[in-house]
Symmetry: D3
Subunit: 255 residues, 6 copies
Amino acid sequence: MRCGELAERLDERLAVEEYADVDASANGLQVGPADREVARVAVTVDAAVSTIEQAVDAQADLVIAHHGISWGGIDRVTGTAYRRLAPLIEDGLALYAAHLPLDGHQTLGNAAGLADLLELTDTEPFGELGPVHVGQRGTAPDAYSVDALHDLLAGELVHGGEGVQVLEFGPDRIEDIAIVTGSGVDWLEEAAESGADAFITGEGKQKAYHLAKEHGIHAFFAGHYATETFGVKALQDRLEEWGLKTTFIHEPTGL
Amino acid sequence: MRCGELAERLDERLAVEEYADVDASANGLQVGPADREVARVAVTVDAAVSTIEQAVDAQADLVIAHHGISWGGIDRVTGTAYRRLAPLIEDGLALYAAHLPLDGHQTLGNAAGLADLLELTDTEPFGELGPVHVGQRGTAPDAYSVDALHDLLAGELVHGGEGVQVLEFGPDRIEDIAIVTGSGVDWLEEAAESGADAFITGEGKQKAYHLAKEHGIHAFFAGHYATETFGVKALQDRLEEWGLKTTFIHEPTGL
Amino acid sequence: MRCGELAERLDERLAVEEYADVDASANGLQVGPADREVARVAVTVDAAVSTIEQAVDAQADLVIAHHGISWGGIDRVTGTAYRRLAPLIEDGLALYAAHLPLDGHQTLGNAAGLADLLELTDTEPFGELGPVHVGQRGTAPDAYSVDALHDLLAGELVHGGEGVQVLEFGPDRIEDIAIVTGSGVDWLEEAAESGADAFITGEGKQKAYHLAKEHGIHAFFAGHYATETFGVKALQDRLEEWGLKTTFIHEPTGL
Amino acid sequence: MRCGELAERLDERLAVEEYADVDASANGLQVGPADREVARVAVTVDAAVSTIEQAVDAQADLVIAHHGISWGGIDRVTGTAYRRLAPLIEDGLALYAAHLPLDGHQTLGNAAGLADLLELTDTEPFGELGPVHVGQRGTAPDAYSVDALHDLLAGELVHGGEGVQVLEFGPDRIEDIAIVTGSGVDWLEEAAESGADAFITGEGKQKAYHLAKEHGIHAFFAGHYATETFGVKALQDRLEEWGLKTTFIHEPTGL
Amino acid sequence: MRCGELAERLDERLAVEEYADVDASANGLQVGPADREVARVAVTVDAAVSTIEQAVDAQADLVIAHHGISWGGIDRVTGTAYRRLAPLIEDGLALYAAHLPLDGHQTLGNAAGLADLLELTDTEPFGELGPVHVGQRGTAPDAYSVDALHDLLAGELVHGGEGVQVLEFGPDRIEDIAIVTGSGVDWLEEAAESGADAFITGEGKQKAYHLAKEHGIHAFFAGHYATETFGVKALQDRLEEWGLKTTFIHEPTGL
Amino acid sequence: MRCGELAERLDERLAVEEYADVDASANGLQVGPADREVARVAVTVDAAVSTIEQAVDAQADLVIAHHGISWGGIDRVTGTAYRRLAPLIEDGLALYAAHLPLDGHQTLGNAAGLADLLELTDTEPFGELGPVHVGQRGTAPDAYSVDALHDLLAGELVHGGEGVQVLEFGPDRIEDIAIVTGSGVDWLEEAAESGADAFITGEGKQKAYHLAKEHGIHAFFAGHYATETFGVKALQDRLEEWGLKTTFIHEPTGL
């Protein structure tokens, strides 16, 4: 498949245009000519020197990453920008990025993937950001205890570093769960005000402690990387259905 | 001392006005009439319901916090804003906030305090933010190993939660150290480009991993709370010199 | 009724959300927890120390004001902001504000109330402000003379200060009348260009004189306070229908 | 004198450039070619059809007005803009505008003129607006009573309409007086916080009532027009010194 | 016909309102009272002193120009602005401007007129600018050679100066042609990416050279003036149908 | 010399930082790691595929261009951005850009070079752009006639396309000449108002015609490329003095 054709198909599937005004990431094809032929795709969370080198080793023609390399425009191709672009160009790889579109997609996205893992039902969009949503909420058929939810997250997610951190300020029985993966603390209050028992995100931030305490909600910090492998893996399945070979490049950050 | 007089003295000592254009925090007197008489001051990292209640119990007249309650204006005094304001007003406490001015002050600030703990010399302002700096850098008289620096931070700082996390991508001998306390990952590249061996901040962020790796610099995440007790404690000393009684309200967040 | 439930009902009735982008006032519940129980409501034009104290004396649980206390965010709870918030919080009153939504509502609003007093017919929205209107225009079944209209306004409106001022530059017979209550001079030209014989607002402004003269339209300045008691009084009726007790707090400003 | 030369001299004398960033008025020469010869100048508060026609009758070559006709750019020369421009162009008059520069000038300005009338001493700039001031404050050698100050203003200023309105919330003896002429209510709080006993401006605004009451300061509304004849009259004297004939066009607005 | 009525009819016909947010030109009636009676209309590309004087000589009541005299507001009626406004006002002419609405209109516009000249078929809007288009593209029934297209443009358009300049980087056979008249180089890449063989605009810009070369597309610079006489001439026909007399004022700029 | 060291030396020499707020071009090192060793430098007007390829052929290590490849940030490295970056990265060339700093420098800049060619004396900065200037003006010791100035420009500048175009609206004797190279029409009025007899720039624009005519000034359009080879050639001399080999890559655009 031509790179440009594949990019257009992904743009459409992920509704990339709807996120254009609220995402600093230049989603879609970020690097490479549209007429490049693509047979093998490497998917990964972060486009960076080491993951790109692994994609080269895997003989990929295209890297699809949740975190690409253009955020608000590349002012100078020096330093880190140069180090990341050079291997892509020298080894002939293209790069496709899908940031918020892959957080908020209600079946393929990161939050949707985590909700599946927790077997939530009655799921609905959560995490308002202008006209779109970047997360998902749902109900646990059987209520979790704090320990059970902690252990499930700690056991199933690959963190590569710290474990799962909990601010234990909510009720004993956790049924209603709101999720924004990655760096989602800004939606903790929306979760509390909408009645969730627990809010799950990736990274913690200082202000979360008192907000969670004062709202009486549990906050789980399960790792930015660990909560954001779902989306690119879900894309992997679609790509294979479209006749492409795929490789998942795994480099957990521990963050 | 009158509350207004004390606030003016602190404003001047911390050069609050220089930070006005770059800090979302409304630094200075945030709550309370200027003519209130102040005898006892509670200092704390976060102004929140529980720390304010502890200040009430300590019979303080004024709370000085690194993180206040007004960030870009309080649109509605409902929810959390109400819960935090109500005890201040009902129990007659005033609130003074010093955010970035207390991060960047080169002798009283959080980074300066952490640099003291590490016994850095030849310290200078670090962490550009418009016209001001929010951190400090310096040289360790005897080079640290990664383990030694980790253990010093882990042993001396009170985290209340996770320990100190290290991205170990720098040299064996750590001499040149750059510090921005709290949420300082945005200055990791400035640290690397200026030749630092290690960068210390409070919270980790996902993007730090590959930036540290590609720049060949160590990144230490020693906790937002844990790295930001220095400033308010340094103020405590000054306040006592000015004849005021003080109390440090300690509520570590583990973040 | 719970305060939050009442606020939502009012938000909906007054279409508060439609005005969000054009009104500096934080319309809706401005102060107080949503779970407070409300039995008695005090309505008033201005939320300020003296009207709040009168509401306390009247044993109200909630104050509904046309002019609230949050305009573009409260940066510091000091000075006037403190003096107004303190009695609300100390005496357990909530505050609900409805500014432009209560100017522009076509049956409950201030302009609509004044149009009723003048017995205008064929009324329609007037006073464009982005996507909404903040006034009303209509036709007098029997034409007014300048003196008759002046006397009606002077006799029926409670000013508390100066009387009604007229810039007498329009035709002898006044049939088509445009109204924007309060501070509405900016719509004088819209009134003239749409063919109105007279424009009625609350406060005069210097530039109105020559605009009215050059457009050949009468301008009536009937007082900011005096033209803006209609809206909160109309709400009073609705609140009583909903089973709440109400009190109108009257403090004319003479402006 | 050539029009351009006169304009430059006025620009310099009034420090027009210092006000450029904070004034919507296009101060300086607003209409007319710079090479026009000027023998007679008409000065007036408002540039409008009737005052321009009076200037034509007075055989003036140039109109100097406090309120000109270009505020943020003339988008279309239709309606009022056409009616005002046409007589200027048809009858060969130029127009020079001096808005905030003529409010804030500490000897020629409107506030300075009113301070002179009140015989204030120890005058200093008042009314901060970015880098400049738009008013003046000073001390009355013998304290005024409210009635005495009211009567002096009512007797000496030509209003053409309503008299002088007072919000009587300050002390019995009025010594420290702050002045911003015209539409200056936004500086009422600065006046109160700086310890003034009374604040004098031209137009009243609704919010002034409770602010004055809560701050315990008198507010005098002496008329927009009436407080702003001082500046252009002071210019008249300078122009005569420069050998030009002058006429004061008086059209009080009553506002 | 009254000037205001004619202006409204043109506004509607040219969909002036749709262009309001993207055009610096104040499109519509720019100068003159709406109640002026119009019998003869002069149409021209540029409203300027010499074309206005020719319109006066032609005894026109209204000038319709592609380039008017108000772009983002007239700050001062001095210098050039004065020289252009004065003859309009002194000789009683009104001015109507239609900039982008007359570039992008798909039957009356400049690009549409040029497409007609080239006998393009299957025309469609081209040249995105926010919600509107400012050009047109279409297919030549018989492919042009570079020389044939050059000679046609050079022969049919009246330039008044330089001839037609070609950057000859496209294919031998030119079938698919995109047009944005005037200053349209910013759409050269859109033309190339949409598969056009040649892009025609008025003025050249330095950056066009390498963009055309790298995209393999021909760029024709046929003159700003020369490509923009189509629109006002098309309006001339409509005006005559509406019973008005018209004159085309021709002043080629050679640019 | 290391690339980073050379870039810093040029940044300082050209006062690059002073232009940072007004220039869309990311001036300074745009592409390449700072530690690259530089022996040979290719200088050129435009960084583009063909000039970069010529620099590769010339075995340059660094390209210095007046027009670089990053203008307001590279959003996507696709299309033209890819085609230009790829040969730089694949062949190991760095890229340094100097746009407005090389227009406005008063001895090395483009305008200064053109002023030298015309043997102007008493030169001074011309062409205000915020805090900097982008051109130069001066006096011809012996007045030029229009023909003489035209012939000098046409004879000495290498255009590669159209010749020199003149709008002949100024005086017979041309003594005072203002220059902004490249695309400088926006400063034509500043030239006229400051008394220049002729204004020289590179590209013409439609609006220049009537402005020049109404101001009575000659406008010479001598080609964007042709007027902008001076700056990079002047740098060539400095680089040779610093011990570097240099090559001038000449690709006239005819624009």
